[in-house]
């Protein structure tokens, strides 16, 4: 790493311009990615703070830390903030924004100004959400079920609904930008079969964002109308049907889970070949399974409603379809595992997170089989079993993938290396803390502890104590990376252009890249994950 001196003088997207204006009015996808990084980290810690309060309240069976109403607001706002203001934008808006143009050899996204607009929409939505939180909060649950949300709750439902509506537009515009960019801005020679699978995953994600998000947008608009003007569209006391709300809500909110997990899968699919020094096993199947998940993911929403009063026959249909969507997820897990066979595996921080991802996602996915089985779903739905299941997917899966990606591309983003041993340590802490927090919740769920309970019968206490203990460990695991990332920006070792010896166009340009990414538009003549021809880092430290 003798290039430190050279590095310091290079012009990069970070030092090209200075001043607050150069950031707030930037159209550079990399700077917008950093704006997103700061904002979603802020919301992540807000949501995490609520989560810790929830866990503390549940330390004892009695409702003794906060009032019942406060508790209800805590889990509602934890859900809303984490889902709409952290998980959905997390990987697409930060890593996707940064990497999609770099990976396909483009100078920027197709619509840089729309990209900036989508960040501003996110910020406006975030301010509305924060305002609704500080002026009283919302207590409907993040699911907004009617008629509670429209006719009974007396909290800030309208404002929170509109905040999510606006954030939905931000999400749609990001997805739109990605699809157009991937179709129209690829460098010469970057054919569809040479695209990194990270791009395929983002393409699939964007399809969901484009076609799913508008449905929840209109649904929330109708909820807001109903509440504001006293209508009865979803209120059974006035002729409406609350199940219609649930259908429309889950039409988006089930695929939304794939908005969170698909990009994570994309990240892991980049990391595993790199640290096994191998081509990905079954490129075409991994790519196709991303699209398969995006499409099939839209056909299964009512498995959230098996006990809600839908017809027996439609429950059968949705259960059957739910099993179909499990197949492409299984394909991915098998392919990742097979990629390791006869590889040359190194245990770096991103790879540890990727291992963690596969493990936790596998468990999350397998417990999904329980929930799709009608007979078992009746017993465990709306219990802690569901909480555990979706946290295994959304935290064990999506957040692990996000951290894996942050560590993998941090040298490219910041131009600095983070302390490797701390990274590994934090990865371990996160993995242990996560399992201790959420595994007991599977057991609680089958025992019958319902979700959203402020107080609970005493026989559930032991497992709840374990879970709370785990959550404090998990919190440490999340704070650590933030600290050493910040530290590394100033004190970290300067990063070479390709510290991991990774394939992919983003590693052929300098770290951090210049504003226009590449000196000249690259011409791609090789397949993706061409590790046969890329030396591992010890042998050639810097340039490809």
């Amino acid at each position: 790493m003798a290039t430190a001196a050279v590095m310091a003088e290079r012009e990069t997207y970070l030092n090209k311009e200075y001043g607050i204006r150069s950031w707030l009015l930037t159209t550079d996808h990399k700077r917008i990615a950093l704006l997103y990084l700061i904002s979603i980290t802020f919301f992540f810690f807000i949501g995490g703070f609520f989560a810790l309060l929830i866990r503390l309240e549940l330390l004892t069976p009695a409702g003794d830390l906060v009032q019942a109403d406060t508790y209800n607001k805590l889990f509602t706002m934890h859900g809303m903030v984490m889902v709409f203001f952290f998980l959905i934008p997390s990987i697409p808006a930060v890593l996707g924004n940064f990497l999609v143009p770099l990976m396909i050899g483009a100078k920027d996204l197709a619509f840089p100004r729309i990209n900036l607009l989508s960040w501003y929409l996110y910020v406006i939505a975030g301010i509305m959400m924060l305002h609704s939180i500080v002026t009283g909060g919302v207590d409907t649950g993040w699911t907004f079920y009617t008629p509670f949300s429209t006719a009974f709750s007396n909290t800030k439902v309208i404002e929170a609904g509109l905040a999510i509506f606006v954030s939905g537009f931000s999400s749609i515009l990001t997805g739109l930008n990605f699809v157009v960019t991937i179709h129209r801005m690829r460098a010469p020679g970057m054919t569809w079969s040479r695209l990194p699978l990270f791009i395929w995953a983002h393409y699939a994600t964007s399809i969901i964002q484009l076609l799913g998000t508008p449905v929840i947008a209109i649904t929330l608009v109708l909820v807001v109308f109903e509440r504001a003007f006293n209508l009865g569209i979803f209120d059974p006391n006035r002729g409406g049907d609350p199940l219609l709300f649930q259908h429309l809500f889950w039409f988006y909110s089930h695929p939304a889970v794939y908005i969170m997990i698909l990009p994570s899968m994309g990240v892991v699919t980049e990391i595993i070949p790199c640290f096994t020094r191998k081509r990905i096993f079954g490129y075409k199947f991994v790519a196709a399974s991303s699209i398969g998940i995006a499409v099939l993911g839209f056909l299964v929403w009512a498995h959230h409603m098996f006990v809600a009063g839908i017809s027996l026959y439609s429950a059968l249909i949705f259960s059957l379809l739910s099993y179909l969507v499990a197949v492409p997820s299984a394909i991915k897990v098998f392919n990742w595992t097979a990629t390791m066979y006869k590889g040359s595996i190194s245990f770096t921080t991103p790879m540890l997170y990727a291992f963690g991802f596969i493990g936790l996602f596998t468990m999350g996915g397998l417990t999904g089989l329980f929930l799709a089985a009608l007979g078992i779903d009746v017993h465990v739905t709306d219990t802690y079993f569901v909480i555990a299941h979706f946290h295994y997917i959304m935290v064990g899966g999506a957040v692990m993938g996000y951290l894996a990606g942050m560590h993998f591309w941090w040298p490219k983003i910041s131009g600095r290396m983070y302390p490797e041993w701390l990274g590994k340590f934090a990865a371990l802490i996160v993995f242990l803390g996560f399992n201790l927090t959420f595994f007991p919740q599977f057991l609680l769920g089958y025992m019958g502890m319902p979700r959203r309970y402020w107080q609970y019968p005493p026989e559930f206490q032991v497992l709840n104590v374990l879970s709370t203990a785990g959550s404090t460990i998990l919190a440490v695991g999340y704070i650590l990376p933030m600290i050493y990332f910040l530290w590394s920006m100033r004190y970290g070792e300067p990063a070479p252009d390709n510290p991991w010896g990774a394939s992919g166009l983003e590693w052929t340009t300098q770290s951090p890249p210049t504003t226009f990414n590449f000196e000249e538009t690259p011409e791609v003549t090789w397949e993706a994950y061409d590790y046969e021809h890329i030396p591992a880092p010890e042998e050639v430290p810097v340039e490809r």
């Binding site: 179709h183 129209r184 690829r186 010469p188 399809i207 076609l211 449905v215 199940l243 219609l244 259908h247 039409f251 839209f298 056909l299 929403w301 009512a302 839908i310 017809s311 027996l312 026959y313 439609s314 249909i317 949705f318």
Partner: protein, 100 residues
Amino acid sequence: MSEHIKSEHVMSSKMYYGIWAALMCLTVVTAAVSFVDLGPLNTIVALVIATFKALLVVLFFMHVKYTSEKMTKAVIVSAIFWLFILLALSLADYTTRLLS
């Protein structure tokens, strides 16, 4: 990026006027037919006419007939397909509730 070259088709204004006239006629027809009792066919006729009108607008006013761009058609088809998913699977619940 050679796939992106396309010639822009400038349609004759006569064609536009023709489409416009057809749309106006269909509007009058659909309004008039609604006063005739065709039983359940009323709805079907109204929707068929509406779809035909929409097709005229999409194909000619929005130039989809003359675009060499395959993606445009793919986008339209998938949006309609997704709308179909939403309607069909929701109705799968509503139409079978009384059976159980």
